[in-house]
């Protein structure tokens, strides 16, 4: 119904925690989509023979890709947890009063799941194996 507003103008609007949660939801969604395209490309290299594929897969055993995988883990977890939060709020409209608390609750759950998994995933980096 409105004219399109530029991303910059939108960022300048002082919205609440849910607006930032929504923005991060979009960014992580795009991040997961980016991974999906890389994943399809990487699987596609199999059609050039096993050696080509194996060499491509070796790329994942570098520090850069390992850290990027932790980023992917964050994106998937955040997108899932925040998505569930929004679904809950849409089905129980009376929860609007606890909007801020629910955003933070989502972050607390995220941290508890993400940190141990991230540390575990980065162990080879800490040990200098990559």
């Amino acid at each position: 119904m409105l004219e399109r507003t530029s991303f910059r103008e939108g960022l300048r609007y002082r919205g609440g925690s849910s607006m930032w949660a929504w923005m991060l939801h979009r960014i992580t969604g795009l991040g997961v989509l980016l991974f999906l395209s890389i994943h399809i490309l990487e699987t596609f290299t199999l059609s050039f023979g096993p050696d080509f594929y194996n060499n491509t897969m070796e790329l994942y055993n570098t520090i850069f890709f390992r850290v990027a995988e932790i980023g992917l883990l964050f994106a998937v977890l955040y997108h899932a947890i925040n998505g569930i939060r929004i679904t809950i709020q849409d089905f129980w409209p009376a929860l609007w009063r606890y909007e801020r608390a629910l955003v933070w609750a989502g972050f607390v759950i995220l941290i508890f799941v993400f940190i141990p998994l991230a540390v575990w995933g980065l162990l080879p980096v800490f040990r200098g194996e990559l």
Partner: protein, 232 residues
């Protein structure tokens, strides 16, 4: 105290691009932002253009972005915003001049949800009675003054120019949940599409922007439910 106003100005007939102009005004902390704007217009710069009518938070004319957030200038006290006030027009509307925006499409969308009682039954001898409980069901959404603060604060509306926006949904809510109304099917047909309630991403900017403290996101969620279940 001296309050500095940074106001975004733009006259499409003269200016190439919008620019900020500063004014200093002597105001008390219980004065309103609108008092500052009036002071500027009356005594410093008669070319500053903005809308205001009732000046008491009922007509909804003076919604604008005050320090980055949509509010009514007549309901915002200086002590809430401090000594520096940044004022910009509502986002997403074409600027007619300075803070005056063209709300044509806003009202078009408002009309498209049939914002009036539809009931073709022969009128009863006195009035169409309703229980207090049934009336309470939509009490919150009767408070809307159509100031457009919610719709222009909505990130979904910024990015999706065919989204109806929160204000139109609030108006639809007011009639969908009214037991005397018979046009729920027609309204939901308009609202259940991709440009209706499902474009809402539950970001709550509308609820925070509403100067009448309507629980806008809640009303939208209730309409979502009605759209899902086929009725209120």
């Amino acid at each position: 105290m001296r309050v500095r106003f940074d106001i975004k100005r733009y006259d499409p007939e003269k200016d190439e691009a919008p620019y900020f102009q500063n004014y200093e005004v002597e105001l008390g902390e219980t004065d309103r932002v609108l008092d500052g704007l009036n002071e500027i217009r009356w005594r410093q710069d008669g070319t500053l253009t903005f809308r205001r009518s009732c000046e008491h938070g009922i007509c909804g004319s003076d919604a604008m972005r005050i320090n980055g957030r949509n509010r009514l200038a007549c309901k915002t006290l200086i002590r809430e915003v401090g000594r520096r006030v940044r004022i910009e027009p509502l986002l997403g509307f074409p600027v007619v001049r300075d803070l005056v925006v063209d709300q044509q499409r806003f009202f078009q969308d408002y009309r498209s949800v049939l914002p009036f009682l539809v009931n073709d039954d022969p009128p009863p001898p006195r009035e169409r009675l309703q229980s207090p409980e049934a009336r309470r069901r939509f009490d919150d959404t009767t408070k809307c003054i159509l100031c457009a603060a919610c719709t222009t604060a909505c990130p979904s509306a910024w990015g999706n120019d065919s989204f109806l926006g929160p204000a139109a949904i609030v108006q639809a809510h007011r009639f969908i949940f009214d037991t005397r109304d018979h046009a729920t099917v027609e309204r939901l047909a308009r609202l259940a599409g991709r440009c209706g309630v499902w474009a809402c991403r539950t970001a709550y900017n509308c609820t925070m922007a509403c100067p009448r403290e309507i629980q806008v996101t809640r009303a939208i969620a209730e309409v979502k439910r009605a759209a899902l279940l086929g009725g209120p």
